[in-house]
Symmetry: C3
Subunit: 398 residues, 3 copies
């Protein structure tokens, strides 16, 4: 990207209203209006452009980006670290027991104790239905109170790095990839995306990816189809949001129980495993009650049920049925690739292999999406700051 | 805090003699004279003021702050990381086995190997009586030797982040909180503080907090009362120090075996559990000999003994007996709160709740106290450096 | 080191051809020509000089140094962290299971996912013969492809922090120590070094240190003698390289089965334990097949065999037989010191003790060697950059 393109994007950003993002968190995409969503995409592209121009967008001379991961993660962890580093924040990890579901007093206290010099808190808590988002709201309330009481000199802003409901840094990276792939936001009207369940030999994958996708992609006038075997429902509230979005944007949302049907003439396919909402709810209860023997039984039942749907696989044959046989294949990675990472999985090896470069590109937007979310929460007039950064032109590498 | 207040504090700092702090460690508060203790408080306030003014006190362009924690910790770990980050040092953790008591050759070698670009080493080693402080002295001697032998280009300075004897970053944060609460150091003469043992369902909490408090607070002309059940003695050497301090400062030090007595008319109360010195000594021996079965037995005996003193709880009723019924309640956190974190603990929930904001403020000084200790060990004329920092006025956030 | 010396070294660096190092990896010393090896030494000395002059060689305003350690390590980990920090890169550790031998798809994907803002990747993978170097080549190929496909904005360069074949950051630090000890590269011709196996009560120490030493030291016209009990062979390919080097440099390479013979008139001795190549190969197969019972058996057999060679110890008596009785004793640390870290080990306590300062100095070069490798891979004209750094003269400590 050249200097002129970056300057153009900054001028476009200037026209968007981001006032409510200032000192605010990023929890769910549907809590943000269209200007705000658009601002994240533009800022992400600008930051990427600056880095390509070897201009450093370091806006913090010091400060901490606190990561709080309650689930394993390599790519989101590195994306968060990259985003923080690009802006000048040092990452400090708060390690907590994975099986622990913290609450009340402890959350309030810990949130304040780690935030004395914290500018951002990135949280991943996607394991338990009804818990992850609740936890993030508790942390947000605690640091808000701490700031108002004069305990914290700054109010660290929260970035949802995946909760039980949404996975905004993933869905936004996915969408930015789609925008670039099709040549602009205006090209998306009427495009069909099949967000489909796919078979995996594992159990209990979170719902936040399919929910995040239908909650965001329906805002762009697209025809969004959710496909899954009967019983593999996602949260009904998010389906409502998707329906509302589709109505407002002039697109559509529908649900089918056939991968084949969903793929027909699709411009984009996103085949991915998840656990049924009902199972996720039961699991949360069992963990909460410490019923670990029943938990193991639940896992066995689920794996047996999953095994009935081994034909929900993204095959070459299915890909042929998509628009001109060449829909854009997407995945949040890592994918369960048949005969590579497992005997039978979400996608045929040759399909995955053919789309490797686009898949990696899709992932490459995440650090910039996260950095954009942080940036927009920290500056009242982000476009002005970016003009300053362009003007001073400090090199990232000497 | 405004610019003028910060400049005023810098002028006051200029009048204090901090020569001996230069390139020196911070191990126990009683190893520092009054000017030095005062300089830490002033520098901490200045650094906090600078941050509030969005002026960056980054004095290191690169360098490592090495943390060596031999016990779990969230708040001290984050405080150390925050302090290092504020000054420009990147934290690197050295992970060592918790049950290991390192010695001799290994300490000397490791101390040098991690210090090639280390400007600061922060150590927490509070588990074993007779070990933590000894270990810190060994590390200090090793890096001194390494520096003199030309192995290290700089002599990293040590900050005691809690040993078996003192917890200076805690007691100094506590004192800075008290100074601000009462409106100045000159207001402390004659104020009564009750440092009291309190019941907790856990066992083996270190002695360094009560020892740190009586070793420091007796220097300010206060009436310091240590209260604990019979047999819950702390180290006699530290009581001697407290008595000496009290005599010199015009305050007093006494020990009682009743929480009620200690609380009467107290301006400050600090109710907190700890293990008896004799138990801590036995524990160290058992660990040293690998007698883990006897260790478990010791724990059982202690918990049973503790249980006899469940009435040593900071209740609303007891709080009423303090000066005007509103003594400042203090704790190093996390506290054992009755009916919240345990059935019966150190403090009644309503008392803790009423003091939450002051408690969090108390904790919020720690990053600045640590940063001040580092700062004063690195510059021969710290006030001059701070004048330069004010003058250049580089923003922390662009 | 004074400014003039640093400027002199920069002028010398200017005359060396480092073009092929630009955007390239550092895997084995024998993949680098003499100019390149010399450039690493000079750059390391320059960076050390700059730090001594309190001039900051920070060339990155942001960026990540990714560490990927598949074996425990304290000193190499800290050396890598120090090197990255000195140049302005923040270290992010990728934690992977130690027993895992990753391959194919996973390596390619992970390599890209962690590299979006990665400028350097440091890898330690020394456990399994035939695996470590292979793994590094796979990572290198993956990020090269990612860069060419436009996924990565920069091509992170790899630094081998120890593989199954070579340990270049160790052997280069060792050699820089030797150069300084003897007063220059030109003083090394005809000096004799005994790289000798020594007894240790542990099993399975990697071959990369002795291989690294004979692969590098033979390039300087030295008489390199490898000594080990029968059966404790190293990889034959590396012996071939050593022979070729010796022929080209006018030195010699020979192998003997006696520590005594190797030590006679040696200028340098490097006594260190390793496992026989054949054993390492068998071990890799057993791990690959998951035959952990047979693995344990192999360990027992090896320890029993080792025990036959307890007299392969670097004693005072043996040291007397070296050149003027005062050869330079070297070790990569930590050493197995008789009666200190074990009953019987690689070296007598009094010998180790006498050489402690030189040993620590030897280790102290590693951060600078690593920083030099990174520096030379990032700048087409490294000497020019260093002139700029000297010119701007930004202080490391304010």
């Amino acid at each position: 990207m050249g200097k002129e393109s970056v300057n153009g994007l900054i001028r476009e950003l200037k026209n968007l209203n981001t006032n409510k993002m200032y000192l605010n968190d990023f929890l769910h995409t549907w809590m943000k209006d269209d200007d705000e969503i658009s601002a994240v995409f533009k800022t992400a592209e600008i930051l990427r452009g600056l880095r390509e121009l070897n201009i450093s967008p370091k806006v913090f001379d010091s400060g901490l980006g606190i990561s709080l991961f309650r689930d394993n993660s390599t790519r989101t962890r590195f994306s968060f670290a990259s985003a923080c580093n690009l802006l000048g924040l040092e990452v400090q990890d708060l390690e907590e027991g994975k099986s622990q579901i913290a609450h009340g007093e402890t959350v309030r206290e810990t949130a304040n104790m780690i935030s004395f010099m914290g500018d951002v808190i990135g949280i991943r808590d996607d394991m338990y239905i009804g818990k992850g988002h609740t936890y993030m709201k508790e942390v947000a309330a605690a640091v808000q109170e701490g700031y108002e009481d004069g305990i914290l000199e700054q109010r660290p802003t929260l970035v949802n790095l995946q909760c039980d409901i949404d996975h905004p840094t993933q869905s936004m990276s996915d969408m930015l990839h789609v925008i670039n792939h099709f040549g602009g936001v205006d090209k998306l009207k009427g495009k069909k995306i099949a967000m489909s369940w796919a078979y995996s030999p594992s159990y209990g994958k979170p719902l936040s990816v399919p929910q995040g996708i239908i909650g965001l992609f329906t805002r762009f006038g697209m025809d969004v189809v959710l496909a899954h075997p009967e019983g593999y429902n996602i949260m009904p509230e998010i389906e409502s949001i998707a329906r509302g979005n589709a109505a407002a944007s002039g697109g559509s949302y529908k649900k089918v129980n056939s991968m084949e049907e969903a793929f027909i003439d699709a411009d984009i396919v996103y085949p991915k495993s998840w656990a049924p909402f009902a199972v996720m709810e039961e699991r949360t209860q069992l963990v909460g009650n410490g019923q670990f023997d029943r938990l193991e039984k639940l896992e066995q039942t689920c794996l047996a049920k999953n095994a009935k749907y081994k034909d929900w696989e993204c095959t070459e044959k299915l890909m042929h049925s998509t628009k001109e046989g060449r829909a854009l294949y997407m995945h949040c990675l890592p994918a369960d690739i048949s005969e590579i990472s497992c005997e039978k999985g979400e996608v045929e090896a040759s399909v995955f292999d053919r789309y490797r470069i686009p898949l990696y590109k899709e992932a490459s937007y995440k650090p910039y999406i996260i950095a954009a979310m942080i940036f927009l929460s920290k500056f009242k007039d982000p476009a002005d700051k970016l003009v300053n950064i362009m003007g001073s032109g400090i090199n990232r590498i000497l």
